[in-house]
Amino acid sequence: MSYFSDIYNGVKTLLIGMSVTGKYFLTSRKGAITQQYPDNRETLKMFDRFRGEVIMPHDENNEHRCTGCQKCEIACPNGTIEIIWDRKINEETGKKKKVIDKFVYHLGLCTMCGLCIDVCPTDAIEWGQNFENSVFDRTYLTRVLNTPGSKLQPGVED
């Protein structure tokens, strides 16, 4: 008698499937995941885990968290990150300390693997949400992530 139960189960499961897709059909107007991109450029917000580019956040005193340890430069498989650093005398303690001059980031080489961000001990760099990266000359893809005149946030090295 499995013949008739096969028919019954077949029809039942097909109807369950159709009800599932039917629900999606009815709610699709509100829940559509498609972004109509150039139209909603102002309101478009990328999702949290989007890997657009590597950025270095600065606080309001123009201070970043990069100690210049170069772990990211070593971790990067493509040579995307170059840290130009110098030893400067710390005014408070009078000791020589390693300080970054330029954090150079070649976006054209980056594969967005995220190893630099994983390896950073002070969370100085993180993922940016920007995705409009097209430029007319590839020299524009080389970026300096720390702003001019920025310095290390106090207390990061402690």
């Binding site: 028919i7 499937g17 897709t21 039917g22 999606y24 699709s28 559509a32 498609t34």
Partner: protein, 354 residues
């Protein structure tokens, strides 16, 4: 030369008043052919657009919404693009058959369209074996597919065409038998008389349980007959490229594509005619306005077309053996038993009529 063409009496009378009888009927047939070509194109393009929007909504996308209001001209733009494309082909193709195949497909679809009753008046060719004609014509379309697959000289196209042949020949039986079940009630193959019978209630109500079973079988085998998913092994994209029309480009490809959608419309139109009363309004609410029949007919047909699209975007594709098991082990025996039940119901006068 006196085929009952009763679309518009005024044009008919006017033509016969200014021309000799033979010339007038030829001109009239020509006009009607042009009108049906227009309907064919408009319905085909609209269904392509509808399919794209509906599939987008099923998949939580938006779909084409840029060209015209809500993207309604999108498929027209696509057709213009295809029209301007180069017609390529394989070197070793059988040129004659290769060029002939799209016309077989499209002519069979057009011929089937002629029999469909849009309303009482708008019914080009009310032949007394209407249903039989439709079943016969819809199986001629497979010749075009087989020719296309064979003459392309491409193994994937050939496999696709052969699968299509297997499928269409098997499911032809179910289509015929499920329509035969309903013909037991109407007692006529003529489509206008089938509609006439349904003034006492649509056939799916009159025939109740066996009619519903017949309707389900008809929709399943109709989907298979038009080579649509879940029965789209003839053009299974993941296995065969595009199946039988792999080697076609430009307008020839567009003919296959349009014919596929017209076939879907025809299957839905047959179902609407035989099961849901064609142009009859529910409970006769607009009987005083006969021209609204087109609206009711298209409404019923498009909702059935939507049902077929719903199938397509819900179910996964069947294997060949599963396809044949479904037909020969399930649909066919159920159908034969269903005919006997329906015969008993008609004999014992158990049909529900208002």
């Amino acid at each position: 030369m006196n085929i009952p063409l009763n679309i518009t009496k005024t044009i008919h009378d006017w033509l016969f008043s200014i021309m000799p009888e033979g010339a007038a009927s030829i001109v009239e047939m020509f006009i009607i052919a042009l009108v049906y070509l227009g309907i064919f194109t408009v319905i085909g393009l609209f269904l392509v657009f509808l399919e794209r929007r509906v599939s987008a909504w099923f998949q939580l996308r938006i779909g084409p919404n840029r060209v015209g209001y809500q993207g309604i001209l999108q498929s027209l733009a696509d057709a213009l693009k295809l029209l301007s494309k180069e017609l390529t082909g394989t070197v070793k193709a059988d040129k004659f058959l290769y060029n002939l195949a799209p016309y077989f497909v499209i002519i069979s679809a057009l011929m089937a369209l002629a029999v469909i009753p849009f309303t009482k008046e708008f019914h080009a060719f009310d032949i007394n074996i209407g249903i039989f004609f439709l079943i016969a014509i819809s199986s001629i379309g497979v010749i075009g597919i087989l020719l296309g697959g064979w003459s392309s000289n491409n193994k994937f196209a050939l496999i696709g065409a052969m699968r299509s042949g297997v499928q269409t020949i098997s499911y032809e039986l179910s289509i015929g038998l499920s329509l035969l079940t309903m013909i037991l009630i109407t007692g006529s193959l003529q489509l206008s008389e089938i509609v006439e019978v349904q003034k006492n209630g649509w056939l799916i109500v009159q025939g109740h349980i066996p009619a519903i079973i017949a309707f389900m079988i008809f929709m399943i085998s109709g989907t298979a007959e038009t080579n649509r998913a879940p029965f789209d092994m003839a053009e299974a994209e993941s296995e065969l490229g595009a199946g039988f029309h792999t080697e076609y480009s430009g307008m020839k490809f567009a003919y296959f594509f349009l014919a596929e959608f017209i076939n879907m419309f025809i299957i839905a139109a047959i179902a609407a005619t035989v099961f849901f009363g064609a142009w009859l309004s529910p409970f006769g609410i607009t009987e005083s306005l006969p021209w609204l029949g087109v609206f009711w007919f298209l409404g019923k047909t498009l909702s059935l077309v939507f049902l077929m699209m719903w199938f397509r975007w819900t179910f996964p594709r069947l294997r060949v053996d599963q396809l044949l098991t479904l037909e020969w082990k399930y649909l066919l025996p159920i159908n034969l038993v269903n005919i006997i039940i329906m015969a008993l119901i008609v004999w014992l006068n158990l049909t529900i009529t208002f």
